[in-house]
Symmetry: C2
Subunit: 451 residues, 2 copies
Amino acid sequence: MSKATIPKGTRDFSPEQMLKRDYVFNIIKETFYKYGYKQIQTPAIEKLETLTGKYGEEGDRLIFKILKRGDKLKKEIQKFEDNALDNNIEKSFCDQALRYDLTVPTARYVVQHKNDINFPFKRFQIQPVWRADRPQKGRYREFYQLDADVIGSNSLLNELEIILLIDSVFTELKIPDFTIKINNRKILSAIAEVTGESDKIIDITIAIDKLDKIGEQGVIKELVEKNISQKAIEIIKPILKTKGNFKDVILKLKEIISTSEIGVLGIEELETIFTYIEKIELKSAKLVLDMTLARGLNYYTGAIFEVTIEGAKLGSVCGGGRYDDLTSVFGLKDVSGVGISFGADRIIDILEDFSLYPEFISSATKLLIINSEDTNINTILLAEKFRNEGINTEIYPDKVKVKKQLKYANNNNITFVVFIENDSVMQLKNMLTGEQKICKEKEIMEEILRI
Amino acid sequence: MSKATIPKGTRDFSPEQMLKRDYVFNIIKETFYKYGYKQIQTPAIEKLETLTGKYGEEGDRLIFKILKRGDKLKKEIQKFEDNALDNNIEKSFCDQALRYDLTVPTARYVVQHKNDINFPFKRFQIQPVWRADRPQKGRYREFYQLDADVIGSNSLLNELEIILLIDSVFTELKIPDFTIKINNRKILSAIAEVTGESDKIIDITIAIDKLDKIGEQGVIKELVEKNISQKAIEIIKPILKTKGNFKDVILKLKEIISTSEIGVLGIEELETIFTYIEKIELKSAKLVLDMTLARGLNYYTGAIFEVTIEGAKLGSVCGGGRYDDLTSVFGLKDVSGVGISFGADRIIDILEDFSLYPEFISSATKLLIINSEDTNINTILLAEKFRNEGINTEIYPDKVKVKKQLKYANNNNITFVVFIENDSVMQLKNMLTGEQKICKEKEIMEEILRI
């Protein structure tokens, strides 16, 4: 007998959880479409060589690798026994692996299908990814990513529209208070440049990125530990203190990095974005320039974004930015892109914590018809009428005690129950209010569709 | 540099393909909900022991197995070097695998969560499965299954509603001519019984199942080869010839198997179903009793279904039936269920062959706003207005030649294009008709929403 358990870090989703997940996924998907993104899907299984070396050494270790089969596997086993493997066990015994993120498969997709794509390619992708990370609260081995990117366009209009898209998604989800943090990778480069520490840009950024967690003194301590010069630290200090509205931060920045060509470019980009957004007026997001926002430094080259929700225990729920070189590892150079990724699992948990799921999604079934001695062909015909009107309807399949059937309705959050007295008399019971009354077919439909 | 290719038997889906896939998936999903089924999802990765031994030897070979990692793997390699493996390579080096179908994970789910489930459990599941089968036309290594089952109810009402559900799905998909074939496993058992060959029920059924392909003489030849007695063959012969409407077939059957208790039960079940369906009147399906329908003999115990589409090159597009013992392998006995599985990939291909996709799904984006020298803040505000009205709208992000932008609209099947002359004058172009005219904002919205 097999035990009924699943691998650690993976999850089953119950009907109630699925309704909540679909609610969030659908809002994000519809908003992607609203802004002109087009959906693609890629296989869960990629060639191992497609993924290896793209996520660093740690990443390579966390990739789920798939064992070869049949003769291919036999050959490798023989080689192993003969001490003649061409490679380590993982690369010898496996040539396929599970998708680790959506970015590398998208880059592979764009290069593979470049002749069929009309650039700029506004694509979105909503699929699970797998990482053999140590599972912990909010971190799973199988989880969904929801990514939208514009590939092959340098225009800042894309960054602007990504901000509108984020605003639209979280407004639609009825999140009361959220902030889009923005920074620009060019500013971070300029800071490293003017401090004379360009080669230590990664150390500087990692330290600055921790301001929220370890405070100003902590950041300075880390900079000292990383052998950043005292002169450089003196230049960086005021950046750590710089709070306030966009114009104040920009003024301070101009003081510090106006001698850097790339810095001036970064400031220009930020100013353009803020000027536009001021005029457009966001629905509910606050847009804040955060000099300490870093995000995957090696990857991004322009604007970077991150979204945080006020009062949520979990960190950022959405992030992204501009990159200049996504596809060259697959042989296609000079393709600039900008994108955003939504962390669905965190968003789903936060909506639960904030009780933001609408009532109506507690059950997909709206009506249960009680099965009784009088259940007959007319019951089925009645159910079909309701279904044709768009009302999801169940007939309890077995003739069991009414109490058991009502418990079923209750436990499955089905609001309405119909008792058929005879072919012309029906009673409608509202399980929420307990109210019960004799109704005609049409009245039942109206009552259900009204709610 | 990595090559941009994917493993054989897997597929990328382009935006246009995704719209078609979503169209089919959504109709099936909404119909599942309409009939009161509730969605669950299970992880792509199951424990290897959950899957092994459930699909026969051939199945075990076709399961994608996932390599252990880190210390766990090192330990096994050491054992292998010491000739001390506890098991074969696959079971020693792997303890997880990819889902092979949705049935076993559902059985595992039902047992694992039995205390949280309100039986009867009407669940549906729409997820990909993986099989390392030799790829060929219409057979992939990663493909979706769309399954609905009622678990924990013996009522024939479930079989009836499954027939209504199938009728509803294919009617909604506008398939002009399709047949639901039905048979009952009890009839097949009875035939084996009355011929005195109960121990050869599998051989008999496999042979009968091939009637469509090899003809009556072929079936008889195979029966002889399998050492079925001449007496038995004489009894089976009339069944192979039995065509015609339900009542004729039942009369013939009664002649043959009325001495079999299980046979009488099977006939009763079929008669109940046909009597009800006659009164309900299906929307467009033909329901046909097919004595030669077999379907995975070891698994089913009652009604079995299969759907074929007239004029389609591919075989059955949907199948299922009643089983009495889904969950006992995970320790939960006497749970009867009945279910149906839709073969999405075949249905998607057939809709393409029959040109049954509606016009409107050729593009999700309905409107492209041309980027020109006059593109400014008002362009973005205009796009936002359209989006708020539910019109999926793109602004071409870069200021490039109009010809290139129109080509983009054309290649992406975007029907409407707007040129902004200045802040108060706009031209709307219909890319299908070529018609172009000066329009006001409101007229543009009306025109687009009209189509």
